[in-house]
């Protein structure tokens, strides 16, 4: 009997062990199966689930800051809200809520059944607009935070700064030329949906992973002087209904661009204005024009350098002079009589300059004009620069040399012209202009430092001093008296050039200019003002550009007098 009992217990224990073993094996199989599914999932199922619950969206990231020489931000990126629709949870009947903010056209687009899982509705909306719509909590309509480019000072320095597309890629100006520093690659946002279809920005809390790599740019611009130049230029241009205008102010000793203004101004907040070619062009670097009489100081310097004239030389002006087969006239055929070299410039005498030009060999003149930087880009760090036009000396036949000496038959950009005049102001050195003072990476490491660079010694100091004094006399006693100021001494030269089209000068179309520097004895700033194609009877540089120049100088003197 005990034997039988023992056998029953043994059988019971054996069954117990089998149950445990079965449970063990079952758990083991489940664990192995789970591990297998987790570690080696079926790709088709993974893709399907990803489509169902996730959406990967590329959104713009923070773009680098642009600031002026005093550290004032001119362009920054700020958060903005974008809206998208998930058709799975979107009802076309809800499209009406889009109308007040996005318009009927957008609402109509989403009033029909949609395919896929992701459709942009609008991007980079301002906070008040976005909040109003987000409060509605429309099923299927979700928000996403992006970065949008803003220019805190409106249109200030708009032509220098340029603009970006909606994804933060630079399209013009500094934004384009320095895109490699300012641009931070788009960040991928992984949008996860919960059971109710609400979007969860799962990358939002892990910004450290997608760290912005955008650097920053510090410009040589002074926003105060920039503002003054823009205001005065716009006033001057509007007063005569000019088609275009430009103003550029530089430090003649370093080549730093202090202010650069182009009219019509570009409204960076209104993207529709970008379609207007007239508005979008940066007239300082992107427009070429015949300089007219503002080229005469350069011509005179060339003549002095090659020995075609001397400070003691005298010229007789009878109002016109025959050069080769043509006659070059002075303004209104006015005869200036016997003139010294300084008086030739003071009277802006075409006859005197043409007589001087006849003694200059064309190849020499061409070489020196090229050395002054005309006919080639200055390589300033702004996109869209033109090279201008200087014909090769082989084609300088007949009156061409004389014409070029009075500023005709040559096409320059305002920036080239001001750099050439700066060389007169600083004692003969042609400087390379620059507008980017510093470029830093996202960690603040200095990548580029703008610095003073002398391109050529284009004239001797004696020549520069002579021409500078002559330009000073132009303003104090000559044709540029409208620019004279009691607050500082100005040296300058007026210019009025006709506009050529299809090989002929267009009647009634002029460019009025004034170029100069101040204080005349030790210049701190050099500036060129152009007013293009003014309407009305007044079109001379002395009438239109010189008063603008004077107004700017007087404003600038007040804010910089203690420096």
């Amino acid at each position: 009997m005990p034997k039988i009992k023992r056998n029953i217990e043994a059988a019971g224990r054996s069954r117990s062990r089998s149950v445990w073993l079965a449970v063990y094996l079952m758990f083991l199989a489940l664990a192995a199966g789970t591990a297998w599914v987790q570690l080696n999932p079926n790709t088709r199922i993974v893709e399907q689930s990803q489509k169902q619950y996730w959406a990967t969206v590329a959104v713009s990231s923070s773009r680098g800051r642009i600031e002026d020489r005093n550290g004032i931000s001119l362009a920054v990126s700020v958060p903005a809200t974008s809206f998208f629709i998930d058709p799975k949870f979107w009802s076309p009947d809800s499209a009406g809520v889009l109308t007040p903010i996005f318009g009927a056209e957008t609402a109509k687009k989403f009033a029909k059944p949609l395919n896929g899982r992701f459709h942009w509705v609008a991007r980079n909306l301002s906070t008040p607009q976005a909040e109003a719509l987000a409060r509605e909590k429309v099923p299927g309509l979700y928000t996403l935070t992006e970065k949008t480019r803003v220019y805190p000072h409106g249109s200030l320095a708009s032509h220098v700064l340029g603009f970006c597309d909606i994804d933060g890629n630079g399209l013009s100006g500094i934004e384009l030329a320095w895109n490699h520093i300012l641009f931070s690659p788009q960040r991928t946002r992984l949008i996860t949906r919960d059971l109710s279809g609400r979007a969860v920005d799962s990358m939002g809390g892990k910004s450290g992973i997608g760290k912005d790599t955008a650097g920053s740019i510090k410009l040589t611009l002074d926003s105060r002087i920039q503002q003054i130049v823009e205001w005065r230029l716009a006033e001057g241009a509007k007063a005569v209904q000019a088609e275009w205008a430009s103003g550029v102010c530089v430090d003649p000793y370093t080549g730093e661009i202090i202010a650069l203004a182009s009219y019509p101004a570009l409204d960076l907040g209104n993207r529709k204005s970008f379609a207007d070619e007239r508005t979008i062009r940066n007239n300082v670097v992107g427009r070429v024009f015949e300089p007219g009489s503002i080229f005469k100081p350069v011509s005179m310097a060339i003549a002095l350098e090659v020995g075609a004239t001397s400070p003691a030389a005298k010229y007789q002006c009878k109002g016109s002079v025959r050069v080769a087969d043509k006659i070059i006239h002075d303004n209104n055929n006015q005869a200036h009589g016997i003139e010294t070299l300084t008086q030739v410039l003071m009277n802006s005498c075409n006859v005197g300059m043409s007589t001087m030009a006849m003694k200059v060999q064309r190849h020499q003149a061409y070489g020196l004009i090229k050395q002054f930087g005309f006919g080639e880009k200055t390589n300033v760090e702004i996109a869209g620069e033109e090279a201008g036009l200087v014909q090769s000396p082989e084609s300088w036949l007949g009156t061409v040399t004389a014409n070029i000496f009075i500023g005709q038959g040559i096409a320059v950009t305002p920036l080239q012209q001001i750099m050439a005049i700066s060389s007169i102001a600083n004692g003969g050195m042609l400087m390379k202009p620059y507008i980017v003072d510093e470029a830093r990476d996202s960690d603040g490491v200095l990548l580029h430092k703008g610095s003073r660079r002398v391109r050529y010694q284009v004239m001797s100091k004696q020549t520069a001093d002579f021409v500078r004094n002559a330009m000073k006399m132009v303003v104090s006693d000559g044709g540029g008296m409208q620019a004279a100021s009691k607050r500082t001494t100005i040296a300058g030269k007026t210019g009025t050039a006709q506009i050529a089209s299809s090989g002929k000068y267009v009647k009634g179309q002029y460019v009025a200019s004034f170029v100069g520097f101040w204080p005349a004895d030790k210049p701190r700033y050099a500036m060129l003002i152009n007013i293009g194609e003014p309407k009305g009877r007044r079109y001379y540089g002395s009438q239109l550009a010189a008063p603008v120049f004077k107004a700017i100088v007087e404003d600038v003197v007040q804010i910089t007098q203690n420096k």
Binding site: W20, P79, S207, G208, V548
Partner: protein
């Protein structure tokens, strides 16, 4: 025979305890792992929240930076000076250099001069604060 039964019984008792201990250990380990996972999730949530706050602060900083830049706008300062503070243009101030031979140094003096021939551009003169100070 009885001795062989005794030994078998002893062996069975030892095996059952091993199972129990193993089960207990596995349970404890599973509980520990579960707790660690939960704690990990909790930490992840905390980190996520902290990162969100950092992100939010960065965005706030950007907004404030924009606002700060707007406040420094020359156009705004000019408008404020004229419209809010009632500041007027100081067109009657000029700077001249005087050489005093007895002292031998160059001085600047702000001298008031009459400026009857003011032009349109003279009327609008935004940058005047320094000129007022000199006056």
């Amino acid at each position: 025979m009885s001795s062989s039964v005794y030994y078998k019984h002893e062996g069975e008792k030892t095996h059952s305890s091993f199972f129990l201990i193993s089960f207990f250990c596995i349970f404890v380990c599973a509980a520990l792992l579960g707790s660690l996972r939960l704690y990990g999730l909790y930490l992840e949530r905390r980190i996520s929240e902290t990162n969100s706050r950092i992100e939010q602060q960065k965005e706030d900083n950007l907004e404030m930076s924009k606002h700060f830049s707007e406040l420094l706008s020359p156009a705004r300062i000019y408008s404020y000076a004229r419209e809010e503070l009632g500041m007027m243009n100081a067109e009657n101030i000029m700077t001249v250099r005087l050489t005093d031979s007895s002292i031998g140094t160059e001085e600047r003096a702000a001298v008031q001069v009459s400026d009857s021939g003011s032009s349109f551009f003279d009327y609008i003169n935004p940058f005047i604060s320094r000129a007022h100070a000199k006056n």
